[in-house]
């Protein structure tokens, strides 16, 4: 049998772990997968924070924002994570309920289009959900107009992806009483519903749909990294629902000072200037030099829509049922 070879292997790993722990303090940041990847903000932020903290930053990457919360719940109070980074406001009510988080205690001057006073969760970036289509093609100016048109879109499943859930909240906030009707009219526009953002965006780039549910900041990637201005986000009259990504300190952390230091660092220039061109979102605090060139080409919605975490959690079940019924016809 082969499995006995893993025992010494496992023991070796365990030894390595205790070895590093003894030398420099380690801050473990649990976050979503694309944050950790070599194109995400993770590597640069690790370097920047390690220059000042005299510590080592270790990322624990796991799926997307929803998977992140599930992972934390699996681990419970015994988690090794000191910071959880990457939840959004649709998830923070459930996160708060776990009782695993401690207040952040950071006073920061945030550049969000809405007021922020959450004692536990501190934003690090944000953007608006939007449909991204091709420049020059027919562009609707509202959710209603999109639903009445023949335009073909691809969206994400609200049961498995955070943008998918965001659209659900967007429709529900814009049409509190007639969300079901809007979904029924949208049904014939929807080419397919994908499990996650990547599949949907890939289908759009392959030409399978006229537009894809993404963010107002997504075209910035094409402009800045590919010098391609053919992708545009559609501005809608109803306003755009926001995604605010937050981080928080785990109450059971064994590095409380380091965790506080990291959260304070998160809303400074050193962290915030990395965000726009790696996470393709707006920084929660705009750096002194302003946003990178290319971000000025983006649409800026007049109305920002956002439910409080508690409201979002309260209406989720009903909104999901409306969505499922309308699209199952």
């Amino acid at each position: 049998m082969q499995n006995h070879i893993y025992l010494p292997l496992a023991a070796g790993f365990a030894l390595c772990a205790t070895g590093t722990l003894a030398q420099t303090p380690v801050l473990q940041v649990m976050t979503y997968d694309s944050f950790v990847s070599e194109w995400g903000p993770g590597p640069a932020i690790k370097t920047a924070f390690e220059e000042t903290c005299g510590c080592e930053v270790q990322f624990i990457g796991t799926g997307d924002g929803a998977a992140l919360l599930a992972r934390l719940q699996l681990e419970g109070p015994r988690t090794e994570a000191d910071i959880v980074l990457g939840l959004d406001t649709n998830l923070t009510a459930a996160a708060r309920e776990t009782g695993l988080f401690a207040p952040h205690g950071v006073e920061a001057d945030l550049d969000l289009p809405i007021a922020w006073d959450d004692p536990d969760f501190l934003p690090f970036d944000w953007s608006y959900f939007a449909f991204v289509g091709n420049a020059g093609a027919e562009a609707p100016t509202s959710l209603r107009e999109l639903a009445d048109s023949d335009i073909r879109i691809v969206i994400q499943d609200p049961r498995s992806s955070t943008p998918g859930l965001g659209l659900l909240m967007w429709v529900k906030t814009a049409y509190p009483d007639t969300a079901a009707e809007l979904w029924a009219d949208l049904a014939d526009n929807i080419v397919t519903v994908t499990p996650g953002w990547s599949e949907a965006y890939g289908l759009f780039l392959e030409g399978e749909a006229d537009a894809v549910l993404s963010y107002t900041t997504s075209p910035a990637y094409h402009v800045i990294a590919e010098d391609d201005d053919t992708k545009v986000a559609w501005a809608f009259d109803e306003g755009h629902y926001m995604q605010v990504e937050v981080a928080a300190k785990v109450a059971t952390t064994d590095q409380p000072e380091l965790a506080d230091q990291f959260l304070a660092f998160m809303v400074t220039e050193g962290f915030q200037s990395i965000i726009p061109e790696t996470n393709w979102m707006y920084p929660a605090v705009v750096p002194a030099d302003g946003l990178p060139a290319g971000f000025d080409t983006l649409i800026t919605p007049d109305t920002a829509l956002l439910l409080s975490p508690e409201d979002a959690a309260a209406i989720r079940e009903e909104a999901l049922d409306e969505w499922r019924n309308a699209l199952s016809q």
Binding site: A10, E38, S160, A187, V193, G202
Partner: protein, 509 residues
Amino acid sequence: MAQRAVAIAPRWPGAIAAALVLVLTIGTLVAVGWRAEWQRGLSPADWVVIRFTLHQALVSATLSVLLAIPVARALARRQFTGRKALITLLGAPFLLPVIVAVIGLIAVFGRSGVVNTGLAWLGLPLVSIYGFHGVVLAHVFFNLPLAIRLILQGWLSIPAERFRLAASLNMPVGRLLEWPMLRNIVPGAFLVIFLICLTSFAVALTLGGGPRATTVELAIYQALRFDFDLGRAAMLAAIQFGLCAAAAALVWRVTSVDALGAGLDRVVQRWDLRWPLLDYLMIALVAVFLLMPLTMIIWRGVPGLALMPASIWAAAGRSIIVAACSALLCVTMALGLALRGGSLIAVLGVLPLAASGLVVGTGAFLLVYPFINPARLALPITILVNATLALPFALRAITPSVDAIQRDFGRLGASLGLTGWAFVRIVVLPRIRRPLGFGAGLAAALSMGDLGVITLFAGEAEETLPLAMFRLMGAFRMEAASGAALLLLALSFAAFWLCDRGGRADADL
């Protein structure tokens, strides 16, 4: 079932393998259920999901098997140049990582794919791949190769002597030889494919066109990821096992046992061949259907190869190690189980197929977590789970040969005092090289493309190739991701080919 004369081969490796399979399938389910706070029962929406899951699996498996029969027959009775290469190539779709295959299918059948471009050029209405038929199309694309391979093996296992006898007596080959063989082989092939489709997740979700096309596996995903409702996830996973058990019980009832004697492995000569054109047409059609998406993956992937980051090679190296280890582990487990024999195998041979990959991953996490940080075990656990999930295929490949060897040589071995490891080494291993190589190849390729367990465990340093490809897609880099998909396709196929060829090095045996 043939009576085993003597227990001549060692039995404890089979016991360990069986325990491992049980821990990873049932044990992980119990671990998830244990942690659950039971909240609610099944909703009406859940029943819709279960109905859809069964419906699509039934249609997909039926179509795959029905299509495979004439193709397997054509391949079995015709000889042409490139036949062997074609049979190997036709196996490719089954080895593809789901996400790569979906990209290939969309490139052919999608809105701007080859087929619709052709239809538009001819002025005909376009077809849409999204919906129930899209799910079935994708499942047939994946599983037709497996069905062809399994049924072809059945055809090739009919001894030449019987065809000779039938010809000399002027008796119909179809009713006397082929029909009993099909009755023996087809239910098993159907069951395997039905179970694969039953637990499908990404295919249904990407091509299904909306919440109508929701499988039980997606409901499990939602319960685990969004609702953190472990009780619901465990309940749905148990339902999946229940459906599997019901299907398996049904299939075993209709499977008949082959009662005619063995032959002398002569090359089959046929005297009943008419309609060669029809056979070749069948082969050509299926080859086009299966190979066109592969061609598109290569076509799209080549420009992306240059855009891939350097880290992709490290990820590819890690994937190769994972694939090699899980192939080795998988065939070792399969051999241990096959030597032990008995009805246990029949159960263990399908159990991993019915397991929900997500529940296995989550359960493994819960089992490991009290002792060690799971991120440190990402690769070993991936190897273990992949080996277990590929076990049904390896087992199916080697069990008939091992049974036959024990039947034919067991008494001889015992009378010569050739027992235990010596019997395995001298008598069994040389005789099962072919199916063993095939099983190892399947396990290696399936493990190479797996993106299930690793996402739950991986940290920074344990990125495998499918995960690297997914991260490229997540970072807008779709072209580089197509390059990585091509690399993944090449590696999966190479892994399969190497093992399969290795097993056939002295195929004259």
